[in-house]
C-alpha cells in the first residue's frame, strides 16, 4: 500500500517545499497576501496533477478514505474530530476579536509631477535637462567639487535627521514617521526619477502632493521656504553622486545629454572601491572623507557642518577621549572598541551604525580615526578588569538598588533613574557642551548598547570626555558592578514596542481623573515615538521628550486619555520657570474623513483641534490651522478636564472630554471607526514653545465598541457546525464502505 499513501505524502512534501522556498528562499520577504496567492496556485497545480488520471486520483484520496472508514483508524478519527472544531472555533474567535493594527493606506508613491512649478515667484521647468547646475558643471568642471560639498552640507544640516547619514531613510528621527522617509540607496527611488521630479518633491514637500497621494501624511517639508533654487539642485546632485545612481532623463537624447559626472576623486581622492591597497589608514581616509567628515570634520575635530545642530556633538577625535571603551579611565580604546562603535553606532545620538560598509572598510576607518590623536602612536590599551559576571536575580537587583543609592547615581541620573539631575546641575562634557544623563528606563538609547555586559562595562570604565566617571574601584565590592547593571536593566525593556494605533477601551462607570489611580495601571499603553520638529522655525533638533505612553478608555459619554512622558525638569512659570511644560493631543476638526490637515497643526485650509495640558494652567482646548497660530478656546465651548502630576522625572496626566465637543464645528469621537490623532510635547526648561516641540505624525485612534457578545457566540456555533459536518461525512463514508463490502 506504499503507492497510494505515497501520492498523498508527495503532495504534502511538494507543498511544504514550496512554502519553504517562498518564505525563506526569496528576498526581500513577500507580504502574506502574495505568499497565500502563490501557495494557492501551487496547491491547484498539484491537484490538477494528481487528478489527471483516475488511478492517481484514487491513490491520492486513499489516505482520506482509510481514515474515514478503517476501524483501526478510529483513534485518529476521534482525534481529528475534536481538533478540527477547536481550530475552527479559535479561528472564528480571532476574527471576531478586535485587531490592534492600524488600517493599511494605499497611496500613489510617485505621483505624476507637473511640467513646471512656481518657485519663489519664478517659473521652473521640471522637464528641462540638463538642469542649471549640471550646465554649470559642464561649463566649469572645477565647480563640481564645490557643488558637491555644498550639497553635502545642506544634506547633513537638514535632511540627515530623517533620511540618514547613509541616505537610506534610517535617520535618527526616521522611526517617528509613517510613511517612513525615502531610502535613496534603494534602486526603486531616485534611480527611477528625474532630477526635476526631485526638485518638485523637495521644493513642495508633503503639503504639495497631489490628491492621489492622500491620505498624504508625508512629513516631508516644503523646502522652498528655506533653500534657494541653487541649494536644492546642489543637494539633488549630492544625492546622486553619493548613492551612485543616475537620474532618469525624460527628454530625447537620454543619458548622453547629461554632462559627465565629475570624478569624485578630484574632491575626495579615488573612491574607496577603487582604492589601491596602500594600507588600511589610506583607504580609511577616503571612506572617512566620504562618510564621516560631514559630522566629525575633515581634520577629526568634530567640527563638520552637522556639528552646530546635533547633540551630543560629533566626537573630536584629536582629543583622544573616547566614551565607549573596554579600557580603564585614562586610556585610549582598543581597535575592537572603535570597531564596535563604527559597526553599531551610538543609539540615541546621530551616530548611525555603519554595518552597511564591509568589515574591511570599517577596520580601515578605525585605522584612520586613530591617526587623529597623537596618543595612539605609543598607546598599548589594555582591557579593564571587569569582575566576573553575576546573573540577574531579585537579590542581585535589590543589592544593585542599594548600591545605586550608596554611590549616588541619582546625582545625575535622578532618584528613579530617569536622567533628571537636580535643576541647575550644569552637566557639561570636556568641550563645554551640555550633557543629558542617560534615562536608565530607556535602554534602547544607551550609547554603548543595552546588554547587561554593556552596562557593566560603562560602569567599569566610565565615559571619557563626559561627566560619567568610572566606578570600578568605587563600589563596595567588585561584584557590585554587576548588581548595579542588573538593577539598571530591571528598570526598562530592551525596546519600546512602538504602537501604530491607540485603542480606546470601553469601560463603564466613573473614569478617575487622578493619573496615579490604580485604574490606569490595568489599561495597556500605546508607546508613541516623538521626534524633533525640524520643519518650521524655530526647529527642535534635539528634543528631550522622545516617548509618549498613551492609555485611553471611553464610556458612552466621554473619552479619557492617560499620558505618561519623561521630562528631566518640571517647568511651571508659576514657580519661576521661564516657559511651561506642555502636551497636546491633535485631531482633525470635523469628521476626520478625507484629506487630513498637515500634521504640523494644519495647513491653512484644514484645521485641527487640540486637547492640551500646560504646567500652571492645566487642561484646555485649542484650535489651529497653521503651526504657530494656536487659538485657545474659551468659555463654555471648553469641555475638556483633567490633571497631571510630576514625579521623579516623569509626568502623568489625564485629559478627558465628552465624546461630543463644546464647539459645534468640532468632531465627535466616533465609536468603532479609525480616527486620526497626533501628539505634541514641549519641555519648557529646554526653551520649547510653539513650533519648537517634539512631535509625531498622524496616528490612528479607535474607540472600541463595548465588548460585544459576538466573539463568544460565533466560535462555539462554528465549532458545532464543524462537528456536524464531520459526523455526516463519517456516516456517509461508513455507509458507502458497507455497501461496497456487501
Amino acid at each position: 500500500m506504499a503507492g497510494p499513501r505515497g501520492k498523498f505524502l508527495q503532495t504534502v512534501v511538494v507543498l511544504v517545499v514550496a512554502l519553504l522556498i517562498f518564505k525563506y528562499g526569496i528576498r526581500p520577504p513577500m507580504p502574506f497576501s502574495v505568499l497565500a496567492l502563490y501557495m494557492a496556485i501551487t496547491l491547484l497545480a498539484v491537484l490538477v496533477y494528481v487528478s489527471s488520471d483516475s488511478e492517481s486520483w484514487r491513490a491520492f484520496l486513499a489516505p482520506f478514505w482509510t481514515t474515514l472508514t478503517e476501524p483501526r483508524r478510529r483513534p485518529l478519527r476521534l482525534g481529528l474530530g475534536v481538533l478540527l472544531p477547536l481550530l475552527v472555533g479559535y479561528y472564528a474567535y480571532s476574527q471576531a476579536a478586535a485587531k490592534a493594527e492600524a488600517p493599511v493606506e494605499l497611496r500613489a508613491i510617485h505621483p505624476a509631477p507637473p511640467p513646471a512649478i512656481a518657485f519663489r515667484g519664478k517659473q521652473i521647468d521640471l522637464q528641462a535637462t540638463p538642469t542649471p547646475l549640471r550646465k554649470d558643471i559642464a561649463a566649469n568642471p572645477a565647480n563640481a567639487a564645490k557643488h558637491l560639498a555644498a550639497g553635502g552640507a545642506i544634506y547633513i544640516q537638514n535632511c540627515v535627521y530623517c533620511h540618514g547619514d547613509h541616505l537610506d531613510g534610517e535617520g535618527h528621527f526616521a522611526h517617528g514617521f509613517n510613511p517612513g522617509p525615502a531610502n535613496f540607496q534603494d534602486p526603486g527611488t531616485i534611480a527611477q526619477l528625474s532630477e526635476g521630479f526631485l526638485f518638485w518633491r523637495i521644493a513642495k514637500g508633503g503639503p504639495g502632493l497631489p490628491k492621489e497621494s492622500t491620505p498624504w501624511n508625508s512629513a516631508m517639508p516644503a523646502w522652498e521656504d528655506r533653500l534657494t533654487e541653487e541649494q536644492i539642485w546642489q543637494v539633488i546632485y549630492y544625492l546622486y553622486e553619493t548613492t551612485g545612481h543616475k537620474p532618469r532623463v525624460m527628454s530625447e537624447g537620454g543619458h548622453a545629454a547629461l554632462p559627465r559626472a565629475p570624478d569624485l576623486a578630484a574632491w575626495l581622492g579615488p573612491r574607496a572601491v577603487q582604492a589601491q591597497q596602500a594600507g588600511d589608514a589610506a583607504r580609511g581616509k577616503q571612506l572617512y572623507d566620504l562618510h564621516c567628515a560631514l559630522c566629525h570634520g575633515a581634520t577629526g575635530k568634530g567640527d563638520g557642518p552637522a556639528a552646530e545642530r546635533v547633540l551630543p556633538k560629533p566626537r573630536d577625535f584629536t582629543a583622544g577621549k573616547f566614551k565607549l571603551r573596554s579600557t580603564p579611565s585614562g586610556q585610549l580604546p582598543t581597535d575592537q572598541d572603535l570597531f564596535k562603535v563604527v559597526t553599531d553606532g551610538m543609539p540615541g545620538t546621530s551616530m548611525p551604525p555603519w554595518r552597511v560598509l564591509p568589515d574591511k572598510d570599517r577596520r580601515a576607518l578605525v585605522a584612520h580615526v586613530k591617526t587623529f590623536a597623537e596618543g595612539f602612536k605609543s598607546a598599548k590599551p589594555e582591557a579593564a578588569k571587569v569582575p566576573p559576571e553575576v546573573a540577574s536575580s531579585d537579590a542581585s537587583i535589590k543589592r544593585g538598588k542599594e548600591m545605586f543609592e550608596a554611590i549616588e547615581c541619582n546625582k545625575c541620573h535622578g532618584q528613579a533613574g530617569r536622567g533628571d539631575p537636580a535643576p541647575g546641575s550644569d552637566l557639561k562634557d570636556d568641550w563645554g557642551n551640555p550633557v543629558r544623563p542617560a534615562n536608565l528606563h530607556k535602554p534602547w538609547t544607551f550609547r554603548g548598547g543595552p546588554e547587561r555586559k554593556d552596562v557593566a562595562m560603562r560602569l567599569s570604565t566610565g565615559l571619557m570626555g563626559s561627566p560619567m566617571p568610572t566606578f570600578i574601584d568605587s563600589v563596595e565590592k567588585p561584584e557590585d558592578i554587576w548588581h548595579l547593571a542588573n538593577y539598571i536593566r530591571s528598570l526598562g525593556p530592551d525596546r519600546p514596542n512602538w504602537a501604530s494605533l491607540v485603542q480606546v477601551q470601553a469601560v463603564s462607570g466613573e473614569i478617575p481623573s487622578d493619573p496615579n489611580a490604580e485604574f490606569w495601571k490595568k489599561v495597556p499603553a500605546a508607546n508613541i515615538p516623538l521626534v524633533g520638529q525640524v520643519i518650521v522655525d524655530p526647529r527642535n533638533f534635539n528634543p528631550t521628550i522622545d516617548l509618549l505612553a498613551v492609555r485611553a478608555v471611553h464610556t458612552d459619554s466621554e473619552v479619557a486619555f492617560h499620558l505618561t512622558w519623561d521630562d528631566p525638569t518640571d517647568s511651571d512659570p508659576g514657580k519661576g520657570a521661564p516657559k511651561p511644560d506642555m502636551v497636546a493631543l491633535q485631531f482633525p476638526t470635523g469628521t476626520g474623513e478625507g484629506e487630513r490637515p498637515y500634521f504640523l497643526m494644519g495647513d491653512g485650509a484644514r484645521s485641527v483641534s487640540l486637547l492640551t495640558w500646560q504646567a500652571g494652567t492645566g487642561v484646555g482646548e485649542a484650535t489651529a490651522a497653521v503651526e504657530g497660530k494656536v487659538t485657545p478656546r474659551k468659555g463654555e465651548s471648553v469641555l475638556a478636564k483633567g490633571q497631571a502630576v510630576y514625579d521623579a522625572g516623569q509626568y502623568r496626566a489625564v485629559i478627558r472630554r465628552p465624546l461630543k465637543g463644546g464647539d459645534k464645528a468640532d468632531f465627535v469621537f466616533p465609536v468603532g471607526r479609525f480616527f486620526p490623532m497626533a501628539f505634541w510635547a514641549w519641555d519648557g526648561s529646554e526653551g520649547d514653545e510653539g513650533a519648537k516641540a517634539a512631535v509625531s505624525t498622524w496616528y490612528y485612534v479607535r474607540l472600541e465598541a463595548p465588548l460585544s457578545k459576538q466573539q463568544f457566540v460565533v466560535p462555539p456555533i462554528a465549532a458545532l457546525v464543524t462537528v456536524g459536518l464531520e459526523l455526516g461525512l463519517s456516516r456517509w463514508a461508513q455507509r458507502r464502505r458497507n455497501r461496497q463490502v456487501s
Binding site: 579611565s329 566617571p469 566606578f471 568605587s474
Partner: protein
C-alpha cells in the same frame, strides 16, 4: 633627620597659619638661598560669581563663591604658583594631598612633585575627580562617600585642571613640577626655600592670568626678592 623634622614642622606651622604653602622637602643644597616676593594684579580682575548650591546643602552650604582671580590686600594675587624653572626641586618628604571638603578643593591649587597624590573625600557625599591632563592620562573617577582616599599617580610635569561634575562649581588645579615652587598666599606673597645659589629663571603661573618670568640671582643663605605683576584682561 633633624632638618627633616624641622622642615616638616615649619610646613605644618605655615599651613596651620593659613599662610604660604611651601613645597617642602629636606634641604637639597646646604647653604641654598631663598626667593621671596609678591605677585600683584594690575587692571580689573573679573568679579567673583556666586552660585546657588542645588544639592548636598548640608555639607556644601547654600552658596558658593567662584573666585577665578583671588585678589587680596594691595592687589596681591592668591593661588598663583611661582617656580624656579631651571632648578631641580627636592624629593618630597610626604605624599601630596588634595582634599575635597565642603564641596571645595583644598588646596584650590595644589603644587606637587611628580609622583603620587592622595585624594581625600572628607564630605561623605559622592564626588568625582575629573582631570583635564594631556601629558598624564586624563581620568574621571567616582569617589562615593565610603571611598575616603584614592591614590593617583601623576608622573609628568604639567598643569592639570580638576573638576567635580557632581558639583559643577568645584574647580581646582594640580601643578605637577620638578622645580622648586610655592603657591602665593592671599596677599600674593610667596617664599621658595633651598634654591641652589646662582642665576635662575623664576616664573609665575596663574590659571587665568597666564605666565610671566624674571631673572634672579640667589646667594647662599640670603633672600632674593622678585616682584611680578600680572595684567587682568577685561
Amino acid at each position: 633627620m633633624h632638618t627633616r623634622v624641622m622642615v616638616s614642622l615649619l610646613v605644618v606651622a605655615l599651613l596651620a597659619a593659613g599662610g604660604l604653602f611651601v613645597w617642602s622637602g629636606p634641604a637639597v643644597a646646604q647653604g641654598g638661598g631663598t626667593i621671596v616676593g609678591e605677585v600683584k594684579v594690575s587692571g580689573t580682575p573679573p568679579a567673583p560669581k556666586t552660585v546657588k548650591v542645588n544639592k548636598d546643602n548640608e555639607v556644601c552650604g547654600n552658596e558658593k563663591k567662584i573666585v577665578d582671580v583671588a585678589v587680596g590686600t594691595g592687589s596681591g594675587l592668591g593661588n598663583a604658583v611661582v617656580s624656579v624653572t631651571d632648578a631641580k626641586g627636592a624629593k618630597p618628604s610626604k605624599k601630596a594631598v588634595l582634599d575635597q571638603k565642603g564641596c571645595e578643593f583644598h588646596p584650590e591649587v595644589l603644587v606637587m612633585a611628580p609622583g603620587e597624590v592622595d585624594i581625600l573625600n572628607s564630605d561623605g557625599v559622592l564626588h568625582n575627580i575629573h582631570t583635564f591632563s594631556t601629558a598624564n592620562p586624563a581620568f574621571n573617577k567616582a569617589q562615593p562617600k565610603f571611598k575616603k582616599v584614592m591614590t593617583e599617580k601623576l608622573d609628568k610635569p604639567e598643569a592639570i585642571k580638576v573638576q567635580c561634575d557632581a558639583h559643577s562649581w568645584m574647580h581646582g588645579w594640580i601643578l605637577v613640577t620638578e622645580n622648586p615652587a610655592a603657591t602665593t598666599d592671599e596677599k600674593g606673597s610667596f617664599k621658595i626655600e633651598n634654591v641652589p645659589p646662582g642665576k635662575h629663571k623664576v616664573e609665575v603661573w596663574h590659571p587665568v592670568l597666564g605666565k610671566q618670568s624674571r631673572d634672579v640671582e640667589v646667594k647662599a643663605g640670603q633672600e632674593a626678592k622678585v616682584a611680578f605683576e600680572l595684567a587682568a584682561k577685561k
